[in-house]
């Protein structure tokens, strides 16, 4: 008999117990699961495959919401590395700062971090959307394949390095573009997308100097005539 749990005190349980309780609740159709005292514990709400709303009151550690498919996760606090790693669908909203590799390899859904994130944010994204209210560290968007990353603040060195496809928007200063990452013209559709995506988190997209970054596609296939581009990539 499944147990319907709507509130879990993390301090009283092991990580496995917490995750299994979340998964049981989600499978049983419990609409809201509230977790207290997460105390920056790693690997919480990993691979939840059913739609439910999961709220953490406090900071979470690494891999929060990793590999989820359909859940809506809210973190009222900071989070560690790799939040929402390989998210399939659903959403994660962090009302604090994120660590490095936030939204790594996201395939679908939406990851929102209100504050800053570290290096390699949105690395190897394969779809979905990553929105950062603050700034991102170096090599963010590295080898991005598809999807959209929106950075309201500054971007560290190497943004969009070796990206295959996808789009990165940066509202602040870009320290240096990565290999084969180029700036493209911002269209009306781009501005509409920014307004819509940021509006969902009560951010006014109008106050930024948006730059749109895409792949220069020089690294798609080797050419000895593009040696300078390849020297950085190989």
């Amino acid at each position: 008999m499944a147990t319907l749990i709507s509130e879990i005190d993390c301090s009283q349980h092991t990580t496995r117990e917490i995750n299994q309780a979340i998964k049981r609740a989600a499978a049983d159709g419990v609409p809201d699961v509230r977790l207290t005292n997460p105390a920056a514990r790693h690997c919480l709400a990993v691979a939840v495959m059913s739609p439910t709303r999961i709220v953490f009151d406090g900071p979470v550690g690494w891999y929060c919401g990793g590999m989820c498919d359909g859940a809506e996760i809210v973190v009222n606090g900071n989070c560690g590395w790799s939040v929402g790693e390989n998210l399939m669908s659903g959403s994660i909203a962090v009302h604090g700062n994120g660590g490095s590799s936030a939204g790594a390899t996201v395939r679908g859904g939406r990851v929102f971090i209100e504050g800053d994130t570290g290096a390699r944010t949105g690395i190897a994204m394969k779809g979905g959307t990553v929105v950062v209210g603050g700034s991102v560290g170096y090599m963010s968007g590295f080898m991005m394949q598809r999807g959209t990353m929106i950075v309201c603040g500054d971007a560290g060195d190497g943004i969009g390095d070796s990206m295959y496809e996808g789009t990165v928007y940066v509202g602040g200063t870009i320290h240096a573009l990565g290999a084969d990452c180029v700036e493209a013209e911002l269209s009306g559709d781009d501005r509409a997308l920014l307004e819509s995506e940021l509006g969902a988190n009560d951010i006014d997209s109008g106050g930024y100097d948006w730059k749109k970054l895409v792949s220069g596609r020089k690294l798609w296939n080797f050419s000895k005539h593009e040696y300078d581009a390849w020297r950085a990539a190989l």
Binding site: A47, W62, M88, A124, H225, Y227
Partner: protein
């Protein structure tokens, strides 16, 4: 002056230079034309210290062998139970190594799965995710977690029987993979979320963790995602073997897959294959010693891979302490790689059956390392699966044959004492005595031998004195 040696008009002898050999000259001129390093498939061209350099010393008067047709010799092994997951059960201590759908055709992946299931062993996915046909064909399927995460899907992870975090590959440790545009067909491109036809370069570092402490958390994430139900493997390209084994153990690995220098690849720079890594036999010895030092031998299981060619190599690997071996290239060859058919297609690529390593071109004449539909059709799945099954059975027979000859009723009871080294370097690497001696070419063995000699000399000296008195 002899007339038998070709000379120039001025009398100087025509001879090839070692540094500027015809191969070196060709290499330089090829690179000058391409404007980059050269790539190819399969593996190293180097002759390495190898299992070939060991010989078994079966039972004679001092040991009793088992009868081949009457006395059982167990081959089964369970791996991955360290943390309570459902272990992988291998009816014979062989696994099919990770090879991607993309590098290999779907027919090849399906045939490998079918053969593995028939024999009672596991097979492994690769860089590009899980192919439905492969999952259906494989009773026990290990799901790789690679730096690229191409096609990675948590639903597939939960369908897998084990997860294997790939830190590196023996053929090219420290670097990512390559899949040249000719093989990135629309189907493969979609599976990997890539534009069709791109020269796909895989990253070498994982996107979501960096070092061994991080790896521990990644393992925890995978366990949480699978409710702790499946073993977690860590595959390492053999380099600083002892350190890496210890770090993998500490990070929580259930199984370590150590992939040596002779390991295979679908496409890699030649220079990496020939100039990186530690040979498989040496890596195995180091890995076993590290597990022993950690007191985790038999707790963390060890699978060795890289250039395992047959049951003889496998038996020697078990004798040195491996729990199982993993084969990739040998399984491909059993499928029909390098078979002397469609010879004109080999010739068109400038090669021939028996010497083809053009996996990277996507033009595989026998339908194994290609995504071309016409070429794929040349590999009949059932027949290919039969061949791999036959080869796997032959490997098992060979392992049993050597174990019985050495008086063992379980292939895992083979031990270093059952072998002798044929070369000084194999003796130095393995600690196994060189044939014709009773000591290994290792410092401690030398010290023992000197001590024994000195003791014998002293004893003889006393004895002589007594005679004189």
């Amino acid at each position: 002056m002899s007339d038998f040696i070709p000379r120039g008009e001025d009398g100087h002898v025509h001879q090839k230079l070692w540094v500027w050999s015809p191969e070196t000259i060709d290499d330089i001129q090829t690179k000058a034309e391409l404007g980059r390093y050269t790539n190819r498939g399969l593996g190293t061209t180097r002759r390495t210290p190898h299992f070939q350099d060991l010989t078994f010393v079966p039972c004679t008067l001092s040991r009793v062998p088992l009868e081949g047709y009457r006395e059982a010799c167990d081959t089964s092994v369970e791996i991955g139970a360290r943390h309570g997951a459902k272990p992988i059960r291998l009816a014979t201590p062989i696994t099919i190594a990770g090879m991607s759908y993309g590098a290999l055709s779907r027919n090849a992946k399906q045939a490998l799965g079918m053969a593995a299931t028939r024999v009672g062993i596991s097979t492994t996915t690769g860089d590009g995710g899980m192919l439905d046909l492969e999952r259906e064909a494989s009773d026990q399927l290990v799901y790789q977690v690679l730096p690229s995460r191409y096609g990675f899907n948590p639903h597939h992870l939960r369908m897998a029987n084990a997860a294997e975090i790939v830190i590196g590959q023996g053929a090219k440790p420290g670097t990512g993979g390559v899949l040249l545009g000719a093989k990135v067909s629309p189907i493969i491109a979609e599976a990997r979320t890539l534009p069709p036809g791109v020269d796909q370069r895989s990253p070498c570092r994982h996107p979501d963790f960096v070092g061994p402490d991080d790896l521990q958390i990644k393992i925890e994430e995978l366990r949480e995602a699978t409710d702790g139900a499946i073993p977690i493997y860590i595959k390492i390209g053999a380099c600083r073997v002892a350190d890496d084994v210890k770090l993998a153990c500490k990070a929580g690995a259930d199984v370590i897959v150590m992939d040596g220098l002779e390991g295979g690849t679908g496409a890699s720079p030649d220079s990496l294959m020939d100039h990186t890594g530690i040979p498989t036999m040496a890596a195995l010895v180091e890995a076993v010693a590290a597990l022993r030092e950690m007191q985790l031998e038999g707790v963390v299981n060890l699978i060795i891979s890289g250039g395992i060619r047959n049951g003889v190599d496998a038996a020697k690997a078990l004798a040195l302490g491996a729990d199982a071996v993993s084969i990739g290239t040998a399984a491909m060859i059993a499928l029909g790689c390098n078979k002397p058919v469609y010879v004109e297609d080999y010739e068109r690529m400038g090669t021939e059956p028996g010497a083809c390593h053009h996996c990277h071109t996507g033009l595989c004449p026998v339908g194994i390392t290609t995504q071309d539909e016409d070429l794929i059709a040349r590999l009949p799945v059932d027949e290919a699966a039969d061949h791999v099954t036959g080869f796997l059975n032959s490997m098992t027979q060979e392992m049993q044959m050597f174990a019985r000859a050495c008086g063992k009723n379980d292939v895992h009871d083979l031990e270093p004492e059952d072998m002798r080294a044929m070369t000084i370097e194999a003796s130095a690497i393995t600690g196994i005595p060189l044939v014709g001696t009773d000591f290994a070419f290792r410092p401690e063995s030398f010290a023992d031998a000197i001590m024994r000699a000195m003791t014998a000399q002293t004893t003889n000296g006393h004895s002589d004195q007594k005679v004189h008195h």
